[in-house]
Symmetry: C2
Subunit: 166 residues, 2 copies
Amino acid sequence: METTEAILKRRSVRSFKDKPISADVVKKLLESARLAPTGGNRQPWKFIAVRNPKMIRNIKMFSEGLGGVPTLIIGVCCEDMNTVTVMDIAMASENIMIQCVDLGLGSCAIASFNQEAVKKLLEVPAEVHLPLLLSIGYPEGEPRIRPKKELKQVAYEEKYGGELKI
Amino acid sequence: METTEAILKRRSVRSFKDKPISADVVKKLLESARLAPTGGNRQPWKFIAVRNPKMIRNIKMFSEGLGGVPTLIIGVCCEDMNTVTVMDIAMASENIMIQCVDLGLGSCAIASFNQEAVKKLLEVPAEVHLPLLLSIGYPEGEPRIRPKKELKQVAYEEKYGGELKI
């Protein structure tokens, strides 16, 4: 799929088919994350790919933000919660979510979950943070389209508040 | 360009040609950002597209992290610095940087700059944050390739530390 199409077509998907995701596909997603931008080349991230249905159900019990039953969850861990680190893992996560569109997968980024409980399930060490889960699967039906602000409301030219004339 | 290629080819570019970026291209980049994922559909972002060469030179004076002379800087503003907000603007910024690759542009995300000074230049209100600048232009030469960790070092299966067997 063309890059522009993948970026513009991405929607948060919360309803998934019960269809397994192959190892090859998981590897492509992780590879997309590995090569994301990272401040000072620190790469302060770890990604945990979970496909075991029982573990996915367990994670879901502690994740109020998780809609539907995904067939893959990627837990996104980081060393600290500095702003640059948080931006790094978010950019890597967006790479995964754009790559998902290209592979016919839907995804949703989830920050509303009981981090301590999920860390325990995934055996994440106390000093490591787990601020984000990506729920991934083959979409069931069409995702709900939510209204977006117009470009002029979110983009300016030359200065803050400068009218967009392009 | 294929999505996978754009994601994997992206490098931080710090050397740019003195070639203007058209309004159409700027609009495509901003549109990519507008449709990025955002927690609770908040869209807590504003993007300032700066193409005026004099303003770009002024911003550069206060931005130690900015290499080369870009022909476009996008200032990424947000309402607060909550973790979810920071992840939102980072995902939107990654959309811009992936779209850049597709359009033959290079980009670099910059967090090392004097935020107060650049806010003043761009007339950003005191209560608005400007944690990130994206420097963008047509690449001059090949960007430096920095070594990346192997996939097994950053990705696990089923639990933290679980060996990647895929």
